[in-house]
């Protein structure tokens, strides 16, 4: 996976995670372009589109769009499920997650993603194990080592 973007229906970026280095300017341009393209698509359309030399996989959950850019040989359907697993994790952690949770606890959303995907590759697919890791982090926050 080359990058993941979370943005709202109003086109506001909520989270960005880049696994391939780009200059800030390029990142902004890519983000703008993709947000416009995806928001213009209708609900019944396919979740995949070709964009430059990458494949874009996106899905909408309530007011948030999750959008991943993957390489040509990567599996589109499974990328949809990476997104879903991430949503499940957020849901479990925040207790039926909403956009506001992600706005106010964006750092948590990052930490959770870092457990699921590392360096652009799926690292741990077990929901239990990820939540265990996050719980261990929270525990450390409460007790000073």
């Amino acid at each position: 996976m080359q990058f993941m973007l979370l943005f709202s229906r109003q086109g506001k970026l909520r989270l960005q995670k880049w696994y391939v280095a780009h200059p800030d300017k390029a990142k902004k341009k890519i983000t703008r372009e993709l947000i416009t393209t995806i928001l213009a698509r209708k609900p019944k359309m396919s979740s995949f589109l070709e964009w430059r030399d990458l494949k874009i996989v996106y899905k909408r959950y309530a007011s948030l769009y999750f959008c991943c850019a993957i390489d040509q040989e990567d599996n589109e359907l499974l990328t949809l499920e990476v997104i879903h697993r991430y949503v499940e994790l957020l849901d479990k952690y925040f207790g039926s997650v909403c956009e506001l949770d992600i706005i106010f606890n964006f750092e948590k959303a990052y930490f959770m993603l870092d457990e699921l995907v590392v360096g652009g590759e799926v690292c741990e697919t077990s929901k239990k194990n990820v939540l265990k890791a996050i719980a261990a982090q929270d525990l450390l926050q409460e007790h000073i080592p």
Binding site: L13, R14, L15, Q16, Y19, A21, D24, K28, K42, K44, M45, S46, S47, F48, E50, D53, Q72, E73, N75, E76, L77, L78, L80, E81, H84, R85, Y93, F94, C98, L100, D101, I103, F104, N105, F106, E107, K108, Y110, F111, D114, V118, G119, E121, V122, C123, E124, T125, S126, K127, K128, N129, A133, A136, Q137, D138, L140, Q141, E142, I144, P145
Partner: protein
């Protein structure tokens, strides 16, 4: 304000609320600037901030960055947080760094030190944090700093599973920045054996790493094949309860399955019959499961299951050996074509394109033609319709071409603008490729222009003209049809162009009919003249002069047109020039001369349609597919084109005329064509009507592979385009030596005294690896012992898109004449390729420029007076005599240009010393350009017998 989890930062939450409450963008910016000023003053203030405050401010900066504002401070404070002993502070520090720090930041050294400390921590949570950070921003420096420790961490028995997972992917990131960091030897097997790990999370992470390693070095990691197959087999046969939390919506370990299937696609089907059997069983089982009723109605279940299925189909296509599996895969995809999920329809169409290129499944794909045509008509999503177009294109063959082209033309009328151009190209290619009857082809192209004229690129209409010119049997029909098409009240300018050209050439074939008598033809064309752009008018003027030749009865009428002020005094120089030249041509020449000048166009030499090249350029995806197809079909499908070729070859001696006359007819301003190209290669530089003259693309951009009619039994030798490039290297050291659709070969060389080093760069332009890559260099027998070359070995595989470099060390022992032969062999797809090239190593590379005054030059010149020491050539130029470019070439040749010695400033006088191992050869040169005669006289004298002649031959070819 929702509850803040964990160890919340109240100040941050308040700030976020403030921002959200801002009524306008201006307010928001104001609030942010206020906050930035506040943070800046805190960071600069005298009071030392405690960890919590630093964390809070760094977090605010992060939030501001996420809102889209630039952040140019706070990096140092974030790095400070890394060494905090409070986990939450450390974590925020790492987050800031992975989101905001560039890999080339000055702070990298500090960061690296902090990461090092955390990697050595006893707390696995800290170690993981450090590993994730490397995996996120891993740079070359980090590869150096951690390349040693991380592999150890990965395979050590003491490392915790969760750390191993991060370590594997961290190593993957470092490997991507620097492939050398992976230790070889015993490490290979230890890494491979991670596939056997108990913990599925570890296997999942490790398989991504192993896939990347395999891509670069399949042989070294061969051992992973059987391990991957048995792991896969265990997953596929497991019940969904066996794998506990690694089962995802009733699908056992879908991520791991997909990764293993991907890994196996880097190898041919396993040789070991046991392993191969087991793999096929897995694939069978996956296909069987697709037919079972779903275990859940949730889309997650079907997505995960089908993700594995598509990956399995992908490996089946990749092996292309099991006919039964291919056909089953095709049937499965056929079901998906009418599935209610848009995503599945999309993927099925896309994947079927690949199946259509396999001889085993091509027929099976064709069975779904009606469904695909239906998708084209009814699908509501344009990206899905685009896939349907791709598939129709891929499944097209002689039997269904008429129907598919018909349907595509129908669809074109209502097609989305975004895909029209590509569709036009595809229709044009299919119509040409599968034309049994060329009248059909002409009809299709004219229809294209009628329906989507704006999207018909130059290549398309050049091509139809080329084919009509080459095929006598269709010329009359073409003339009649364009004549009719032009009668439409509003016809597209491209139609006028085609009409103008074809009537100019073949209007006489329909002139017998009263309805299309010469005068009618002329008036019809001229009625469009004033509506057209300058380039079309230029073309029409040429048609008019051809008409004067074909139909003397309308000569006066045409002369009147040429004479009129709007042409003869046209503000467009090109039009004015044509009008006046054509007018005078018609006034002063006899009919015989006119007939000779305006003789019918000779056939164009044949090569692959340039439309295909355009299509390939248009989309990378296409080129992958085409490459796939070409590797398989190996030119077998190009029957129609071959037939044209046969017709064209008989007149290949006319190539030169074709080139010159088309240059004349279409662009007086175009530069003269290098006639040397013509005599030296039969491939023909200009093949498309004027295409190459207008565009700067040389023939290397045209795919030469397909036209070679390769088959896997006899390796293809591809040499077109070579001669030109190698010649240029006499006077330069760097550049592209050779290029086709598969490979680009570049050269960078340096020479000192009698030694030299040539760096040869081989770039794989395709999406498949080039295997069995073996370049070799040989010296002609005449030159053996005079020059020595030592070729460094190079890896046998060039990955897709990768470039490898090879060094050739060389030494000049004595003067030598021929360029060393270079043979590059490799396998692309399954087709062996041979490129027979020359190594750009000529004797003049060993020149050392020598300065001297006129007196000593003349003294030495006189000394070298024996006939074997001198060589002189007088030759005609083949390129423009422009003194700047002559100077560049002479300088590139390696001798010193001596100024002020020759009384004629146009002439060049040079001196240099050739270094060989045995001796130094003094050389003097004089080059006299004669602009009037367009000729040169080149005289070289050298102290060693015979050297002058070699040098003279080399340099004279440059002009």
């Amino acid at each position: 304000m929702p509850a803040v989890r964990g160890d919340g930062m109240r100040g941050l939450a308040v700030f976020i609320s403030d921002i959200r409450n801002c009524k306008s963008k201006e307010n928001e910016v104001k609030r942010i600037n206020k906050e930035l000023a506040n943070i800046r003053s805190k960071f600069k203030g005298d009071k030392t901030l405690d960890g919590y405050q630093k964390k809070k401010y760094v977090c605010k900066l992060l939030f501001i960055f996420l809102l889209g504002h630039d952040i140019d401070f706070g990096h140092m404070e974030a790095v400070n947080l890394l060494s905090s002993n409070k986990y939450t502070e450390k974590q925020i520090g790492y987050l800031f760094i992975s989101v905001l720090v560039n890999t080339n930041s000055d702070l990298i050294k500090l960061i690296v030190q902090n990461i090092k400390n955390d990697l050595n921590s006893r707390n696995p949570v800290h170690v993981n944090l450090a590993l994730q950070c490397i995996a996120n921003i891993g740079s070359k420096e980090m590869a150096e700093a951690f390349g040693h420790d991380i592999p150890k961490l990965l395979v050590s028995g003491e490392t915790m599973d969760v750390v191993k997972q991060s370590a594997a992917l961290c190593l993957l990131r470092l490997f991507r920045t620097n492939p050398d960091i992976i230790p070889g030897g015993e490490w290979t097997s230890r890494i491979i054996h991670l596939l056997n790990d108990q913990h599925l999370g570890v296997v999942t992470a490790a398989s991504s790493l192993i896939e990347a390693l395999v891509k670069l070095n399949p042989d070294e990691y061969k051992g992973c094949v059987s391990l991957a197959v048995s792991r896969l087999s265990r997953i596929i046969t497991a019940s969904y309860t066996d794998l506990q939390d690694y089962t995802y919506y009733f699908v056992p370990a879908p991520w791991l399955s997909v990764k293993l299937l991907r890994l196996l696609q880097h190898y041919p089907p396993p040789e070991d019959p046991g392993v191969r059997g087991r793999l096929n069983e897995c694939l069978d089982a996956i296909l069987n499961k697709a037919q079972e009723p779903p275990k859940s109605k949730k889309v997650q279940h079907s997505n995960a299951k089908n993700a594995v299925l598509f990956e399995a189909i992908s490996i089946i296509i990749h092996s292309d050996s099991e006919a039964a599996l291919l056909v089953r895969a095709c049937n499965q995809l056929g079901q998906f074509l009418s599935h209610r999920e848009t995503n599945l329809r999309y993927l099925a169409l896309e994947t079927m394109c690949l199946l259509a290129t396999s001889e085993f499944s091509h027929e099976a794909v064709k069975k779904h033609q009606e469904t695909v045509i239906n998708s084209l008509k009814t699908e509501r999503d344009v990206s899905v319709r685009q896939r349907a177009v791709d598939l129709l294109y891929a499944m097209c063959d002689r039997t269904n071409a008429e129907q598919i082209v018909h349907e595509m033309l129908n669809y074109l009328e209502s097609a989305d603008y975004s895909i029209r151009e590509e569709m036009v190209l595809k229709v044009a290619i299919l119509a040409e490729k599968y034309a049994g009857d060329y009248t059909w082809y002409v009809d299709v192209i004219l229809n294209l222009i009628r329906i989507a004229g704006d999207y018909v690129s130059e290549e398309v209409w050049y091509r139809v003209i080329q084919i009509v010119v080459n095929r006598e049997d269709v010329q009359g029909y073409a003339a009649k049809t364009v004549f009719e098409a032009l009668q439409a009240p509003a016809c597209h300018e491209n139609m006028v162009k085609v009409g103008g050209y074809i009537l100019g050439e073949f209007g006489n074939l329909i002139a017998g009919d009263k309805r299309s008598a010469p005068q009618v033809q002329f008036q019809l064309l001229h009625s469009k003249y004033h509506l057209c752009s300058a380039s079309t008018r230029a073309l029409l003027l040429t048609t008019y002069i051809k008409f004067i030749n074909l139909f003397p009865e309308i000569k006066t009428e045409i002369q009147n047109i040429l004479k009129c002020d709007s042409n003869l005094r046209c503000s467009d120089a090109e039009l004015q020039q044509r009008a006046s030249e054509y007018l005078h041509l018609s006034l002063v020449t006899s009919t015989d001369v006119l007939a000779t000048v305006l003789e019918e166009m000779p056939p164009f030499a044949e090569k692959e349609s340039s439309i295909l090249a355009v299509l390939k350029k248009k989309s990378g995806r296409m080129s992958a597919q085409e490459a796939h197809k070409e590797a398989r079909a190996a030119g077998g499908a190009g029957g129609a084109a071959a037939a044209v070729a046969a017709g064209a070859v008989k007149n290949s001696t006319n190539d030169k005329n074709a080139k010159n006359s088309s240059a004349d007819l279409f662009g007086i301003s175009t530069p003269p064509v290098n006639s040397q190209n013509n005599s030296s290669s039969n491939t023909g530089v200009l093949v498309d009507v004027l295409g190459d003259l207008y565009s700067s693309s040389n023939n290397s951009s045209m795919p030469s592979v397909a036209t070679n009619g390769t088959n896997s039994a006899s390796p293809a030798t591809l040499t077109s385009g070579v001669t030109d490039n190698i010649k240029k290297f006499v006077c330069k050291n760097n550049g592209v030596l050779y290029e086709n659709d598969i490979i680009q070969i570049g050269v960078k060389s340096e020479f000192r005294q009698n030694l030299g080093r040539i760096g040869v760069f081989y770039g794989n332009k395709t999406s498949m690896p080039l295997q069995g890559f073996l370049p070799s260099v040989s010296i002609s027998s005449a030159d053996s012992g005079r020059v020595s070359v030592q070729v460094k070995p190079v890896e046998s595989t060039i990955e897709a898109g990768a470039q490898v470099q090879q060094f050739v060390n060389c030494e000049c022992i004595d003067h030598f004449e021929d360029l060393p032969e270079m043979l590059v062999c490799f396998t692309y797809g399954s087709v062996p390729q041979r490129l027979s090239l020359k190594l750009p190593l000529s004797i003049n590379k060993f020149f050392e420029p020598t300065d001297m005054n006129g007196e000593s030059f003349f003294a030495r010149w006189k000394n070298l007076s024996s006939p074997s020491q001198e060589s002189q050539q007088i030759f005609k130029t083949t390129c423009p005599m422009e003194s700047g470019s002559i100077r560049t070439k002479v300088m590139g040749f390696g001798m010193q240009i001596l100024e002020g010695i020759d009384p004629n400033p146009e002439n060049f006088v040079c001196a240099g010393i050739l270094h060989t191992r045995t001796q130094q050869i003094g050389c003097l040169m004089r080059l006299e350009p004669n602009r009037q005669a367009q000729m040169y006289r080149l005289t070289i004298r050298a102290s060693k017998d015979g050297t002058a002649k070699i040098l003279c031959n080399l340099l004279s070819q440059q002009f």
